[in-house]
Amino acid sequence: MASSGIELLLVSLPQLATGAGQTLAISALGILFATLGGVLYGVLATLGKRWLNILLQVYLELFRAIPVLVWLYLVFFGLPIFFGLSIPSFWCAVLVLGLWGASEVGEVVRGALQSLPRGQREAGLSIGLGGWQLYGYVLLPQALKRMTPPTINLYTRIIKTSSLAVLIGVVEVIKAGQQIIERTYESVLIYGALFLFFFLVCYPLSAASRVLERRWAHA
């Protein structure tokens, strides 16, 4: 029984690998956009302009009030209706993960920037640094250590959430697994393998985040 199980896994590996590639691609792109968007959000949120803060808060609450899976459906079903756009579900998933991720990363970045002493901003301004220079040379570099561990945890969440893409029809690793199960009925083995796959991707990140947090813990 065991040997046929491993044999089966080896035979299905290519199909699973393709699916895994899709999962990782969605996750990686989602992480990329979430990071870029999040840094932008964090910078905008600390500029001290009231209208900006209100706008960002609405954006944040929208993504907190509506669960990510609902967002996936809203985008998947809604985009064709509202904007006449029909984008592949892969990109729907990337879009949703990116936007949701950006709001979460953004809050982390905002918190990190706000935890810096106010004098850093004033000292930077006093030597004539302009907006982007102030953030680029003085504020963000110093906020980096504080924002990295929570952001890595968010990356883990994005990877896990990318699994929901299967529900809007993306042929990623879960779909690939389900297709194999349809042929072979080895559900325990395949779902077990999927379990393992996600664990092997996410656990190192969680562990790294904890290590970094301990190493960079400031008083």
Binding site: A65, L69, L74, G78, T161, L164, C202, S206
Partner: protein, 221 residues
């Protein structure tokens, strides 16, 4: 773009029921997760040999794998081992599995957040470890954990939408169903969005209020 409000209103009874299912699943999951977490936290604090490592392993496993995979495993894979469960049961089991792990972390963090000085003064007036736990650690840890606990409760409630994947008739499943049956996509998505905002936005604001009152904001995830 026309907006078939009549149709929307006609679906309200069904959605009302769906909200009930969402809340029911959520509430049960919250309670069971909390029970699991309390057990785990006690084991972690008391450092029961062997069990302690088991709990740590469980927490890592549950927190580093997606809810959907856990759900599919329980609902689709377990039957071939002879364990067949309904969608509802699979939902509860899985949400408890995941929720228990997150809440364990919250409680553990709460216990660790109790200032060391409290433990030292407790020991120096002669309290046993058990008494220390009951009279010093637990009360303080509970208060420190409240915002994070509440945040995770809301998170669990939001995650109930995922169990729509195993045909549990909560709000998302009901929406998908109606879209498939009547093609009123626009209207059904509008109802779904509205329901989400009505249910989760107040909770989110309440959470923020709670955090500000208690001034700590640690998250289990």
């Amino acid at each position: 773009m026309s907006f078939d409000t009549a149709f929307m209103l006609s679906t309200l009874p069904a959605f009302f029921k769906a909200v009930g299912v969402t809340l029911q699943v959520g509430a049960i999951a919250i309670v069971t997760s909390l029970l699991v977490a309390l057990l785990n936290a006690t084991i972690l604090v008391l450092r029961t040999p062997y069990l302690w490592r088991l709990v740590k392993g469980y927490v890592e496993l549950a927190r580093n794998t997606p809810l959907l995979i856990q759900l599919f495993f329980v609902y689709f894979a377990l039957p071939s081992l002879g364990l067949k469960v309904s969608g509802f049961a699979a939902a509860i089991i899985t949400l408890t599995f995941m929720g228990g792990a997150y809440l364990t972390e919250v409680l553990r963090a709460g216990v660790e957040a109790v200032p060391r000085a409290q433990l030292e003064s407790g020991r120096s007036i002669g309290l046993s470890e058990g008494q220390l736990l009951r009279h010093v650690i637990l009360p303080q840890a509970s208060i420190l954990s409240l915002p994070a606990l509440f945040a995770n409760f809301v998170f669990l409630l939001k995650e109930t939408t995922v169990v729509s994947a195993v045909a549990v008739p909560e709000i998302l499943y009901t929406t998908k169903n109606y879209i498939a049956l009547y093609y009123k996509t626009y209207e059904m998505l509008a109802v779904l969005t509205l329901l989400c905002v009505l249910i989760f936005l107040p909770l989110s604001l309440l959470l923020r209020y709670l955090e500000r009152r208690l001034q700590h904001g640690q998250f289990g995830h």
